[in-house]
């Protein structure tokens, strides 16, 4: 696949051509420890660096009318317009020229799949955000200690034993958590859970909240349990880093112990998975343009990611079922 990318790019050596291709949505893997804005600025400066290394537009010509040495006639000459020289006006492509906007927000400590809209792709990024995509997280926690911010980079506030916790307890807690959130979904949808309307909705599968501010958990299950560490997979919507931290803290308390969060990793955002994401080493023009094509294909395949006409998540369910059968 990498060779295919290279051959695609060989045809683009002029910066203007590459610039015209830089419109779309890209999917990157944000490492933890980097804020969204730092990621954004890195992408912007990398793009500028690469574009300026390509064949950029030469300085314009300007016509000058000058008297000859004896002032008898005028000489008309064309010469390079210094006012358009890169040393005077700066590099041809500058970070301020590129619009890069994040489609979803991941906190500084979170790593994972992130979508960015570039130039004309910003509107798609906004649509993706407004459609409240489901994100899948792998959240790792550690039993025994609670910290001030519920993450492992802050002072420890309390300690507790955790020998009594086992997978069964953990699973039952997560199941009840999931059930209570499903109930909440119907309330947020504005229907009485006891009504016919709710029944009709429920028949079609999980539903999307109308309000983006309240976090919702669609599914939570424990995928790894090695005391004191545990990892849970969470399918959630409109959640935040803080919310997940508090969730791990509360799981610890509900299991009659304490816990804090050691890692949060977003492994999927609607149909964009880890395989589509670019690691930091690949944040350059070539791979970004190739990635735009890939993201465009995904969006074409699932147009409901951009424009919703249905409150339920049927397509997501179908995909999940397929995965399960595979």
């Amino acid at each position: 696949m990498i060779s295919a990318r290279k051959s695609y790019i060989k045809t683009v050596s002029s910066a203007q051509k590459a610039w015209s291709l830089l419109n779309g949505v890209i999917c990157v893997y944000k490492p933890s420890g980097l804020t969204v804005n730092q990621t954004r600025l890195t992408i912007m400066s990398n793009l500028c660096r690469d574009l300026n290394d390509m064949n950029v537009r030469p300085a314009r010509k300007r016509v000058t009318i000058e008297p000859s040495s004896d002032y008898s006639k005028y000489l008309i000459k064309t010469q390079t317009d210094l006012a358009d020289h890169t040393l005077v006006v700066g590099e041809r492509y500058q970070p301020t020229d590129i619009i890069v906007s994040a489609s979803n927000h991941l906190g500084k400590l979170t790593s994972g799949v992130m979508l960015f809209g570039i130039n004309k792709g910003v509107k798609y990024a906004t649509w993706l955000r407004n459609n409240r995509p489901i994100r899948v997280y792998h959240v790792t926690g550690k039993f025994g200690k609670s910290t001030e911010t519920h993450f492992n980079d802050s002072p420890i506030t309390a300690q507790a034993t955790f020998d009594h916790i086992h997978v069964g307890k953990m699973n039952s807690l997560l199941a009840s958590l999931q059930a209570s959130h499903q109930r909440k979904m119907f309330e947020l949808c504005g229907v009485d859970p006891q009504s016919q309307a709710a029944y009709e909705l429920a028949k079609m599968g999980p539903i999307r909240p109308a309000n983006a501010t309240i976090p919702l958990i669609y599914s939570a299950r424990c995928i790894e349990f090695k005391r004191p560490y545990f990892t849970i997979e969470i399918h959630a919507c409109s959640e935040s880093e803080n919310y997940l931290g508090i969730l791990i803290h509360e799981i610890g308390i509900d299991l009659k112990s304490l816990a804090h969060c050691t890692q949060i990793r977003c492994i999927r955002q609607s149909f964009f998975t880890l395989e589509d994401a670019l690691v930091k080493r690949h944040w350059n023009v070539e791979t970004i343009i190739a990635n735009m094509k890939r993201c465009k294909d995904i969006m074409n395949k699932h147009p409901e990611m951009l424009k919703q006409n249905n409150p339920n998540l049927r397509n997501m369910e179908e995909k999940n079922n397929k995965e399960k059968t595979q």
């Binding site: 490492p31 933890s32 300007r62 000058e66 020289h85 040393l87 006006v89 700066g90 080493r281």
Partner: protein, 334 residues
């Protein structure tokens, strides 16, 4: 040198329309056909024909409006000075626009030429230090004589000036105080001071508060003794200008997580110049492969050099015997 010759040729055949940067018409059609004498004061001014009067220019935000009209700016572009960078700094555009090439610039370029700086480097030098023209030539010469009197060789002086264009803006007293500071605080010998100043002149002209802070950090927080601090300073002076938190983070990862002894860190001081994320990624990948073996007496030893030298590709293929695909997939689990 070729550059300079070209420059002087340009001055001779300069076209009639020649303006001072302050956009006053200046004489010199006849003057310029003569061999330019840099020491001669230009006093007499004759008006040039009316079509050569400068056009009215409204206030502008950048040099682009002036550059086609101003000989000085044109020369700067020919030298390779990045005017767009100078423009972004407060007060500098006004200063640069008031310069006249013959009166304010030429002698300074001659000075650099006499010092033996290659003409290709003038552009970078002046981009970084446009205030160089504020210094009197005598002062600049004194500053070079000072270095020569302190037994710096000519090559060393050239290296200092190229690596740190700001050095010549510092008065002799100030440089002397700073060299003394380093000699006293790190107990350096004369040769070592010269070595340090040549290797990384920026550390001498940087804010000494940083150096004091990092000196404390290296001695008290990391626990290196006087001699060790000195060898760190001479090996990698850059860390004495870095953010203290970053240096401490790197050290604590090396010392506490990778279990490198202080001797080993001193043996490979370059590792301090490596980003923590890079060090972490590589270390954790080695750990995953079960190859984090840093004891040179046992087989499959991995040198600390692996953390700072080479690209990711080289690291993965040569040190880890793995593929880039595996490494990328690993990075996506962090």
């Amino acid at each position: 040198m070729r550059h300079i010759v070209k420059l002087f040729k340009n001055i001779k055949i300069i076209n009639v329309q020649r303006y001072c940067t302050s956009l006053e018409p200046v004489k010199t059609t006849n003057e310029l056909t003569k061999k330019p004498d840099i020491l001669e004061e230009t006093t007499d001014r004759e008006l040039i024909p009316s079509e050569d009067f400068p056009t009215y220019l409204p206030p502008t935000f950048n040099f682009a409006a002036y550059v086609n009209k101003s000989e000085t700016l044109r020369k700067f572009v020919e030298l390779g000075v990045d005017l767009s960078k100078i423009e972004s700094k407060k007060g500098l555009p006004e200063f640069i626009l008031k310069l006249d090439f013959n009166r304010h610039v030429k002698r300074h370029l001659m000075f650099l030429h006499d010092l033996g700086i290659e003409p290709e480097k003038y552009g970078e030098f002046l981009t970084k230090n446009p205030l160089f023209f504020k210094n009197e030539i005598d002062e600049l010469e004194t500053r070079v004589y000072y270095l020569r009197s302190k037994k710096f060789t000519l090559e060393q002086v050239q290296e200092i000036v190229t690596k740190d264009p700001f050095w010549l803006n510092f008065s002799t007293k100030r440089i002397d105080r700073r060299l003394g500071f380093f000699q006293k605080n790190f107990s350096l010998t004369g040769n070592e001071v010269r070595y340090l100043a040549t290797k990384y002149p920026k550390v001498i002209t940087s804010h000494l508060m940083h150096v004091r802070e990092l000196n404390f950090c290296v001695r008290e927080e990391m626990g290196f003794d006087g001699n060790e601090t000195k060898s760190l300073l001479l090996a990698i002076p850059k860390i004495f200008m870095m953010n203290r938190d970053h240096v401490i983070e790197r050290f604590s990862y090396m010392f506490n997580v990778m279990n490198f002894s202080k001797e080993k860190i001193l043996q490979y001081p370059q590792i301090f110049a490596t980003r923590l994320s890079r060090m972490k990624n590589r270390h954790q990948f080695l750990k995953l492969l079960g190859r984090d073996q840093f004891n040179e007496k046992l087989p499959k030893y991995v040198s600390p050099e692996a953390f700072y030298s080479g690209t990711d590709e080289e690291f993965v293929t040569n040190v880890c015997d793995s593929t880039m695909e595996t490494y990328d997939n690993f990075l996506k689990t962090l």
